[in-house]
């Protein structure tokens, strides 16, 4: 690991250091900088040639001068991994933050992570019950899925993420989840909120935390999620854990990505974000899944705050193209005082069909979910119409749908922060009860056989 120390820095620009006259340096190699005041900083090679090497410094370049010594460590970034990561809190660069001892590694894992061969993946199809009706019924989560929460400033996404972390379980199995929590640029207050909640429920012992806070170096955020996912992969595929990765806030991560791009004077894509942001995000999100022949799994819950509540902003947009659906938090519902304010209409789970139905949740799940959607969507649309023409102009069907939209929001979506609803008796039966507010002849999405079997007033015993 020892090597020459170079003092050949020519330029320093933002988080980047340029130096020349080095021996061949590998792309992606890890770098140590020793400042004249004795401080050490870490970095990584972003561009290398015979003439010039560009290093990205994780801790920022303040106090770096031309006398700074730069040492190339001859290896790419690796995280010491072991089973002992569970129950630990590490900083954004993988060093203990909880005052505990250094991790004694079983292995030094490359944090970039290789792509899973699509042929070696296993299709995710085990339903995860979150106990939240809006999610379980309408955007069902399955093990191995990546399902982001699209939120915005001032909305209770953290509560929802924590509630999921607390309540998530496989129906008919006592396999527990290990939570890997990755904080990127969140405030100390938000961080404390997470830690306290995990402590309160005893989940902290079953969690590994990687923490980069708002006042920690911004560039370090680029490696924090990679560390977290490396840990998750190790726990899942070497030790058979089912890992739930929560990372927040992806928006801060993307900002850091843009910062590096700007410092390198790259040609920007949309809104100044680098053109490779899609690929870069995919390198994180795609590290979810199941692998044939391995027991463990990685399920991801990235949280991102949409700047200006704009779902077409590049960050939610590119994420949506990679992840298997999204849970959209609505300001409108939040302001109506509904928790969890999940807007089921733009929310989606692409793997839902594989995880629900007979033997997994209940045979009528798909039908009920389609009917809820359709009725709520039409009811919501009618609200707009009523604002113009008044309720008098509506026919019987429209009136029922209009009323249903309110009932759906108040009774189905709304639940308390520690209410853990089971999918069958609580969530789906509740849905059936609410659907009695609409005449069955208007319930065209429901198969007759489910009406005969489950409809509270029309069923044939």
């Amino acid at each position: 690991m020892s090597g020459k120390e170079y003092r050949t820095i020519t330029d320093v620009k933002g988080p980047l250091v340029f130096l020349n006259k080095t021996e061949p340096v590998a792309y992606g190699e890890i770098v140590q900088l020793r400042l004249s005041n004795g401080t050490m900083k870490n970095g990584q090679v972003l561009d290398t040639s015979d003439d010039q090497v560009i290093v990205q410094v994780f801790e920022g370049t303040s106090s770096v001068d031309r006398q700074t010594g730069v040492k190339f460590l001859g290896d790419v970034f690796r995280l010491p991994v072991s089973k002992d990561l569970v129950g630990r809190i590490l900083d954004g660069a993988g060093r203990p933050r909880d005052g505990g001892p250094a991790i004694v590694p079983d292995e030094m894992a490359d944090i970039i992570g290789a792509a899973i061969n699509p042929y070696s993946r296993e299709s995710p199809e085990s339903f995860i019950q979150t106990g939240i009706s809006a999610i379980d019924a309408c955007t069902s989560l399955v093990r191995g899925q990546k399902l982001p929460i699209f939120s915005a400033a001032g909305l209770p996404h953290n509560d929802i993420a924590l509630q999921i972390a607390r309540q998530a379980k496989l129906v008919g199995s006592d396999d527990d989840f290990v939570v890997v929590f990755c904080a990127m640029g969140i405030t100390a207050e938000e961080y404390n909120f997470f830690v306290h909640d995990l402590e309160r429920t005893g989940a902290l012992e079953n969690s590994a935390l990687f923490v980069n806070l708002a006042d920690d170096p911004a560039v370090e955020r680029l490696i924090t999620p990679r560390l977290a996912l490396t840990a998750a992969e190790y726990l899942a595929f070497e030790h058979d854990y089912h890992v739930l990765v929560i990372y927040t806030d992806m928006t801060n991560y993307c900002e850091s990505l843009r910062q590096i791009g700007a410092a390198r004077e790259e040609v920007p894509g949309r809104r100044g974000y680098p053109g490779y942001m899609y690929t870069d995000l995919a390198m994180l999100y795609e590290r979810a899944g199941l692998v044939k022949g391995k027991k463990g799994s990685i399920t991801q819950f990235p949280i991102l705050t949409m700047p200006g509540d704009d779902i077409t902003h590049p960050i939610p947009d590119l994420s949506g193209y990679i992840t298997e659906g999204q849970i959209v938090i609505s300001r409108e519902l939040h302001q109506k005082g509904i928790y969890p304010p999940i807007n089921v209409l733009p929310s989606l789970s692409r793997l839902m069909n594989a995880g629900i139905g007979d033997g997994k949740t209940r045979e009528d799940h798909k039908s009920v979910s389609d009917q809820l959607y359709a009725a709520y969507a039409q009811g919501k649309e009618l609200r707009g119409l009523v604002a113009i023409v008044g309720e008098d102009a509506l026919n019987e069907r429209d009136l029922q749908l209009l009323k249903f939209a309110d009932i759906f929001e108040n009774e189905f979506l709304r639940q308390s922060r520690d209410e853990d609803r089971s999918i069958g008796e609580d969530t789906l039966d509740l849905a059936w009860n609410l659907l009695t507010n609409i005449d069955t002849k208007y319930l065209v999405r429901l198969d007759q056989k489910w009406i005969d079997k489950y409809h509270p007033t029309e069923k044939k015993e």
Binding site: A26, L46, S49, Y119, Q145, R270, T279, A393, R445
Partner: protein, 593 residues
Amino acid sequence: MEVIPEKEKEVKKMSEENGLIYRISGPVVTAVGITPRMYEVVRVGDEGLMGEVIELHGDQSVIQVYEETSGIKPGEPVVRTGQTLSVQLGPGLLTQIYDGIQRPLEDLEETMGAFITRGVDADGLDLKKKWEFDATASKGDEVSAGHVIGTVQETETIEHRVMVPPGKSGTIKSIKSGKFDVTQTVCTLDDGTEIAMMQEWPVRTPRPFVRKYAPDVPLITGQRILDFLFPLAKGGTAGIPGPFGSGKTVTQQQLAKWSDAQIVVYIGCGERGNEMTEVLTEFPHLIDPHTGKPLMNRTTMIANTSNMPVAAREASVYTGITIAEYFRDMGYDVALMADSTSRWAEAMREISSRLEEMPGEEGYPAYLSSRLAEFYERAGRVQTLAGDDGSVSVIGAVSPPGGDISEPVSQGTLRIVKVFWGLDAGLARQRHFPAINWLSSYSLYPQALDQWYRDNIASDFPEIRTEISALLQVEAELQEIVQLVGSDALPIDQQLTLEVARMIREFFLQQNAFHDVDTYSNLNLQYTMARAILAFQDEAKKAIAGGADLESVVNVQARTDIMRGRFEEGYEERIEKLVKEMGKQIAATMEEN
């Protein structure tokens, strides 16, 4: 006879030409000390990673590398191969699943486990497997490029036709049937040219054919809205733009499953790993409605997920279309799905920005639209070199950021393709699937195809289609009024039009891809269903004129039965009877009043 060894020598000399890495920046590597040709394949670094030369700059050659480059240092070797990026074509392509540069994913799993590492080579075809070659040409035959000299039963349903490779011709000196592997000589020409079952072809060059025909046969997909309202011709091109969650991938998969092409090439370009896995696990279990055999027998897949190297993603669409052209040359109808071309364009953008090229719109390279055009232009129904008919239909998904199709990839695509299936987030939100907007979508093929429909389905097929789409247009106009005054304020005949249009939407246009029966409707059934809707309109009009009220006309049991019946087996046999029954019941509502 002298020519070939000369060439080999030349290749050998070239491949001995070694250079050195000068610079590495992500997937782009610059080398010095070699003088390769553009698009030549080179081996990079001590591990011999595969790369392709994409720019020559003084004494520097710029290479895009198909594998992860971290850990590679300047000063490591770069070796020329003398060849441009090529695919191996021959028996064994079908049922295969490749990455973007035709490495079989199954072989990669064997050599490197579940995670894709690097520096591993794999042949596109199994070079050891013996195939039963059945010679169809005989000694003394004059053959030229593209002529079929023999066949191999590649899968249960597909006969692989072994052709004389492009550029070769002569009189057959010897040819033999029997068991051979793909590299063994099966036929010798009198000038000494040896022909094996495998040929190689550079992916960026279109394969030759005699001429292109105008497309006049529809590609039948079993999807009602596509076949009936916006049909695609065999050899045609279609674009499916849509925001995320609007059902692009499901639509593509439906086409891959049900379209009546004989060969399907499915390119998963920069898409989700789990989604590819779903395709990979589902396809082998699906039964082709045309042959009754597994669909996989006619399918080749290319899976380059979003986190696999970006340069290989760029290459994947070329790999796919070259394989499609090869089957076309045998005289087959091939359908190629690319999901998604936006990811391909983004790969171009990423490479371009690493090359520090002057960007065009939104950072995409200025050559984006010409690349898109070149790609779609490789579609077509052609006369092959052997004189047969073959076609490649290309269906490209586009993923416009924010669903806004004014962006460069959508626009570049729409300028070329003849069919536009516009997906709509609003419809998807109402769970109206396929969420194809019937007002904004279009197809330029109906005129060319109408004769085919008249001859094969029904003489009034085009007229029925026009009536249906006219009703949808009228509905859109009426809806604007309804938004203002409510539907009760409309005159009764217009209320009826709304009901008919709703029937078109809910009964005809909506189709459940996950339902065993509803997932596929043949053209005859589509026609009958459309007729049933119009029959309802006619009967209802009569009844209302005779004093029946709209409510009871709409609620007759037989109409509900017709609508719900499409989910049940044997629907096709029953529907005519149900329509008659509906007529009777509607007539009866007159008497009630």
